[in-house]
Every structure is written in structure tokens, then in C-alpha cells.
């Protein structure tokens, strides 16, 4: 937001603007005054102003302090700026302030408060009775306002997903205590003021009057409050819908439209078209219906996107099998129908099982001579069983050619090493079915 050259041009003017700045914080087009989040002792006004005017923050603080002497302009300006200047977004914040700056700031604040009291006492412009309640009240208000700033920053942090409730709740216990103390201080200030001004006999009456007024104002403004809350919620849900729509549009663009364009280009090559359509279908399915799919709710939709883009990062057996089947489909141009019953997290032995199953699917794809392979996995409490089946030409297990022998070994070897079992059912013309059985973790071997 800060544009260096503009700031320099205005420097000469701005130094004399310090006092009037409160009235026209937007005097420079395109540059708004924001309260600083990092250079902050009370409300971040001085820090923000310093950044805005491009002068050392110490000067601004000193100016506020000294201006207290002239008819309380300093505190008044500070409070007004706090009210009207918004908080700076965290990403725009300058480097953190160091300990020295903090000490100076606190010292100046204390000095300002002292000056305020001393001058009031000396000048007599404000009677004694006024000083204590007003100091207490202002202190309480400052606490409450700081909490409001905190709540706003929390909201930014949470990606603007919290609504009205984010302002009231959601904070830590500490935050709530601070808020409570602030409110009590404000009430205390008012109470003290009343106590000193009103004769004790009248206090109950005054309290009742105040209460009645508050209730009256509350009742009158109820529709307004309700509308405010509703508008906020409406706006929030509209924003969420928009985000969702954008997400869907982006996904459709990235995957479906691209694939359709590719398919048009490859129209002469049916094999390529089938391959593209198949892999796109699988991707979309994962996105829509997969274990971490889009339908599982907004929070996980992003993960699903990642999962679809990086298919190697799977966590459960179901996903692992889906990935293995998809890879074989893409590589060997066959369709693999997979059915998985139950699910469980992956471990070393299940990884071996999936690798063995993948090998079996590859075998079927390469040698069966048909374009379809069925994969069925059942996860039971004690074992996981995977069936890989094709209706192809089959073979005679006793007369396996060299190359297939090797592959069968790699399946069988894997299963044996991890305590699994392999059963092979095949004969020429009858298709092939490989049954892989792996015990689950409980009675672990390796």
C-alpha cells in the first residue's frame, strides 16, 4: 500500500498536518491511514500514523504526549483516530518493534497520562472528581477496543470464515478475562462518576433510569441489530458459495475441459481417446466420490484436489488399490473393475500386498488377451484378501514360460516374505484368478 515516492512529495506538507490529520485521514488518494499492528502500545495509532507520514514513530508519540498539554488535543486525537482508522492487515505490517522502542512507547504513554492528570489538576479546568472516573473509564475502553482488534485479527487468520460469533466467542480464556476487566473498568468509571455526583439516596433511582434507558434503546434497535447480524451471515455464506463455485469451475477447467480439448485433437486415434477418457473419468470420480472426495465437505475438498493431483500420497488400502488399478489402466489400456469392501490404513505388509496385486493385474493385462480385469478386495478384521481375475485365455501353471515364471515369483515372493498366501486358479481357456491373502497387523511377523 505504501508508495515511497508519493510519501516523499508530501513530507513537507504532512509534518504540519499532524494535528489536522485526524479530520482527513484519506487526504492522499489511494493511501489510507491504518493503525499499525506491529508498532503498537495502546491502539497502534502512532505507529500507523508514523508509517503513513513516513516519520519516526517516536516523534509521533512525543507529539501526542506533548499535545496533551494543549487542551487535551493529544488524547482526543488519539482516541478519534483509533475509532476511525481501520486496523492494518497483518501482511502489510512492518518489522516487529524492538524492546527499546517498546520501552520508549510505554514511557511516553505513562508520561502522557501523568501530564494529563497533572495539567487537569493544575488548570482546574476539570475538577478532581472527574479525573479518576474518566481515567478508569478510558482505561477500560482501551482494553475492550484492543480485544476488538484481536478478534478482527483472529478473523483474518481464520480466513474470514467466522461470522458474528467470531467477534464474541472463539477467543482464549485470557482474551475473555481481558474483555471482562475492560467492561468492568468502564462500568466502574461510570459508577464512580455517579457516586460522586449523585447523592446516595438517589443512586438507585439513577441506576434504574439508566437501566430503563438502556433497555429502551435496546428494544428500539432490535430490528437493526438483527438485520446487521443477518446481513453478516448472508454475506458470509455468499462468500463461501462463491469460493465453492470458483473451486468447482477451476477444477472443471483444469481437468475436464483440458481433457475434452485433448480428445478433440486425438480424434483419429481411438486408443488415445479411450485412455484419456478413462483417466479423466477416474480423476473426476476420485474428486467427487473418493474417500476424501469433494462430497465429504468443504474442509476436505482441498485435500481431495491434492490427492487427485498427487496420486502417490494415499493413506488407506482403498485408495492404494484405486491408484494401482488406475496406473495399470493407463499403462496397458485395459479396464480394471475394482470393488473394495471395507477399508483400513496402509502399513508395510499391505503395501506389499498392493504391489503384488498390481503385479497380478499387470500380468492379466499383458497376457490374458482380454480388455477387462476384475479386482476385488475384502478387508476383514484379521485378514485382507484380494482377488485379481480375468476371463482371458489362462495358462497351464505347470508349463509356465520363463518370463511369467519370474513374475509369479515376484508376486509369490512378496507374499511369502510378509506372511501372506497366494492361490492361483487357472487353466488354458478358463481365465486366471489370483487370490492374495495377507494377515493384518495383530499377528505381525516381519
Amino acid at each position: 500500500m505504501a508508495t515511497g515516492t508519493g510519501a516523499c512529495d508530501h513530507l513537507g506538507v504532512s509534518s504540519q498536518l499532524v494535528e489536522e490529520e485526524k479530520a482527513t485521514p484519506e487526504v492522499y488518494a489511494g493511501r489510507r491511514l491504518h493503525r499499525s499492528g506491529s508498532h503498537k502500545i495502546a491502539g497502534g495509532v502512532a505507529g500507523g500514523l508514523a508509517e503513513h507520514l513516513n516519520v519516526p514513530v517516536l516523534w509521533v508519540r512525543a507529539a501526542f504526549t506533548l499535545l496533551t498539554a494543549i487542551g487535551y488535543i493529544g488524547p482526543l486525537a488519539y482516541v478519534l483516530l483509533w475509532m476511525f482508522a481501520g486496523q492494518a492487515k497483518p501482511e502489510e505490517k512492518a518489522p516487529e518493534m524492538d524492546a527499546k522502542e517498546r520501552q520508549q512507547g510505554i514511557a511516553l504513554l505513562a508520561l502522557g497520562v501523568g501530564l494529563f492528570i497533572v495539567i487537569s489538576l493544575l488548570s482546574g479546568s476539570l475538577a478532581n472528581w472527574f479525573i479518576v472516573p474518566i481515567t478508569v473509564g478510558i482505561g477500560g475502553a482501551a482494553l475492550v477496543w484492543r480485544e476488538a482488534d484481536e478478534a478482527q485479527r483472529r478473523k483474518w487468520r481464520d480466513g474470514a470464515k467466522t461470522g458474528v460469533s467470531g467477534f464474541l466467542g472463539g477467543g482464549s480464556t485470557q482474551a475473555r478475562v481481558r474483555l471482562l476487566v475492560g467492561v468492568l473498568l468502564v462500568c466502574g468509571g461510570i459508577g464512580l462518576f455517579l457516586y460522586q455526583q449523585v447523592s446516595p439516596t438517589l443512586v438507585p433511582v439513577v441506576l434504574i433510569a439508566i437501566l430503563a434507558t438502556l433497555i429502551g434503546v435496546g428494544v428500539i434497535t432490535v430490528p437493526w441489530w438483527l438485520r446487521l447480524i443477518r446481513d453478516l451471515d448472508d454475506e458470509r455464506s455468499a462468500r463461501i458459495r462463491d469460493q465453492e463455485r470458483e473451486e468447482i469451475a477451476a477444477h472443471l477447467h483444469d481437468s475436464v475441459l483440458q481433457t475434452l480439448a485433448l480428445i478433440q485433437k486425438q480424434a483419429e486415434s481411438p486408443r488415445e481417446v479411450i485412455k484419456l477418457a478413462r483417466s479423466q473419468e477416474r480423476q473426476l470420480r476420485t474428486w467427487l466420490y473418493g474417500p476424501t472426495g469433494y462430497g465429504r465437505g468443504r474442509a476436505t475438498a482441498a485435500e481431495a484436489n491434492e490427492a487427485a493431483e498427487a496420486p502417490t500420497s494415499y493413506g488407506t488400502l482403498h485408495e492404494a488399490i484405486a491408484v494401482a488399478c488406475g496406473e495399470v489402466e493407463d499403462t496397458f489400456d485395459v479396464s480394471v473393475e475394482q470393488v473394495v469392501v471395507g477399508d483400513c490404513p496402509m502399513d508395510v505388509r499391505l503395501t506389499a500386498l498392493v504391489q503384488a496385486a498390481r503385479e497380478a493385474i499387470v500380468n492379466s493385462a499383458k497376457h490374458s488377451g482380454v480388455g477387462e480385469v476384475s479386482v476385488y478386495a475384502e478387508i476383514e478384521p484379521d485378514t485382507v484378501t484380494v482377488f485379481v481375475r480375468d476371463r482371458g485365455k489362462g495358462f497351464d501353471p505347470d508349463q509356465v514360460p520363463e518370463d511369467r515364471h519370474g513374475l509369479a515369483d515376484s508376486i509369490r515372493g512378496r507374499m511369502d516374505r510378509h506372511g501372506g498366501k497366494l492361490r492361483l486358479r487357472t487353466s488354458p481357456g478358463e481365465g486366471t484368478e489370483v487370490q492374495l491373502e495377507m494377515p493384518r497387523k495383530k499377528e505381525a511377523k516381519a
Binding site: L288, Y289, G293, G295, V339, V341, G342, E378, R389, E433
Partner: protein, 224 residues
């Protein structure tokens, strides 16, 4: 796969799908099996479907699961009470167990995915029209999953409906493994008719069981 079928009448089929492109595709595919299957009408919305089915009285309705205004389940709800003779076969791209179980419980006699070959589709239509159930491997998987015992399951209220017999389980497993009825029959040393009986019985249980799991399982997954 055929008995003396030369002289039998083609099955009258009604298509319900909100995508005109897909209806045209199915029509074209089934045209190749015109001696077996005849498309008598089609509809693109729930309202059209209800009116069309009342008008044509087809033997089999090929029903899409996902449509505006309530989808296939809504068509089933509106048509079935008045037309008990009409048989429904769900045809969907959806992989969501919830959808599949919903149309089966709504009264569909089977479930096939849209990637099914035209020959297989014609055969499935013929089979449901004859009163059998059509279980794709995926549907078999869903049903097995729905009836599986898992920790924290609700008590079984009616063993007759809430449990699968070991034989039914075996049949379902083989279906899920991609076996055809004939293959299942020879695998288990039973007749094809017996396989059909088992599958129909599983279908009935899926439709009627009040087992808490059937619905809870689908909502747990929240696949759609």
C-alpha cells in the same frame, strides 16, 4: 445365455435420464439388440417420467439416479404404488454407495453403471424383466459392506432380514469378484436358478432390512 427365445417379444423399455445426449446414446446402443429390447419412450425429468410411464406401461424403466427434483428415488416413489408391474433398473455414473442403496431400497431391481457394454445392458434388461435381480460387482460390494459386521453395530432386530446367510455372502463375494451367474453356479456346485434365488433374496433384504447400519453406513460415508 439363451433359452428358446427366438419367438419371444422384445422387452419394452422406457428411458429416464436428464441428459438428452445420454438417452440418445442408450437408444442407439439398444437399437443393435432390437430383437431383445425395444425402447418405447424416454423422459428427461421426474414429471415427464411419471407421465410417460403411466402412458406407455413399459416392462422395464432404465432409471438415472441423479436428476433434478429428487432423482430416481422420487420417480420410484411416485410410480411404483400405482404400477407394481413395472420393473426398474438403475443406470448411473455415480459411485456413491448412498445413491445406489437409496434406489435399491426405493424398489429398483438392480443397478448397473453407465460404462456397461450394450450387450450386457440388453441382457440385464431382459433379466430384470424376468423378475431377477441384477447386481453389478460394485453393487455387490456395497451390499456386502452394508451388511458386514463391524464394531459398534446396532443389535440385529430381525435375523431373517438383518443378516445374510453364509451362502448369500458367498454368492455376493463371487459377484463382486466379477463372476457371472453361470460361473458362480459351477463354482458353488448349485444351479443358475439357485444363484438367482440367492441374489433376489439379498435384494429383498437390502430393500426391507431396517438394520440401522444400512442407512447409517451410507450417511457415515457421506459420499455425496
Amino acid at each position: 445365455m439363451t433359452t428358446p427365445e427366438q419367438d419371444r417379444k422384445p422387452v419394452r423399455v422406457f428411458l429416464v435420464d436428464d441428459h438428452a445426449l445420454f438417452r440418445a446414446g442408450v437408444r442407439a446402443e439398444l437399437a443393435a439388440h432390437s430383437e431383445d429390447v425395444e425402447v418405447v419412450g424416454e423422459a428427461g425429468s421426474v414429471g415427464e417420467a411419471v407421465a410417460g410411464i403411466e402412458h406407455h406401461h413399459p416392462d422395464v424403466v432404465l432409471l438415472d439416479v441423479h436428476m433434478p427434483d429428487g432423482g430416481g428415488a422420487e420417480v420410484l416413489r411416485q410410480v411404483r404404488p400405482a404400477n407394481p408391474a413395472v420393473v426398474f433398473l438403475a443406470l448411473s455414473v455415480s459411485d456413491a454407495a448412498e445413491d445406489v442403496i437409496a434406489v435399491i431400497r426405493g424398489g429398483a431391481r438392480g443397478y448397473v453403471t453407465k460404462t456397461i457394454s450394450s450387450q450386457e445392458l440388453a441382457r440385464s434388461v431382459r433379466r430384470v424383466s424376468e423378475g431377477d435381480a441384477v447386481f453389478s460387482p460394485r453393487l455387490a460390494g456395497f451390499v456386502l459392506d452394508a451388511f458386514s459386521e463391524r464394531p459398534g453395530a446396532a443389535p440385529i432386530a430381525d435375523p431373517e432380514l438383518d443378516l445374510l446367510t453364509p451362502r448369500e455372502r458367498e454368492v455376493l463375494r463371487l459377484l463382486a469378484r466379477g463372476y457371472a451367474y453361470k460361473e458362480i453356479a459351477s463354482e458353488l456346485f448349485i444351479s443358475v436358478k439357485t444363484v438367482e434365488t440367492h441374489v433376489s433374496s439379498v435384494l429383498r433384504k437390502t430393500q426391507l432390512s431396517n438394520r440401522y447400519e444400512l442407512s447409517r453406513w451410507a450417511t457415515d460415508r457421506r459420499l455425496v
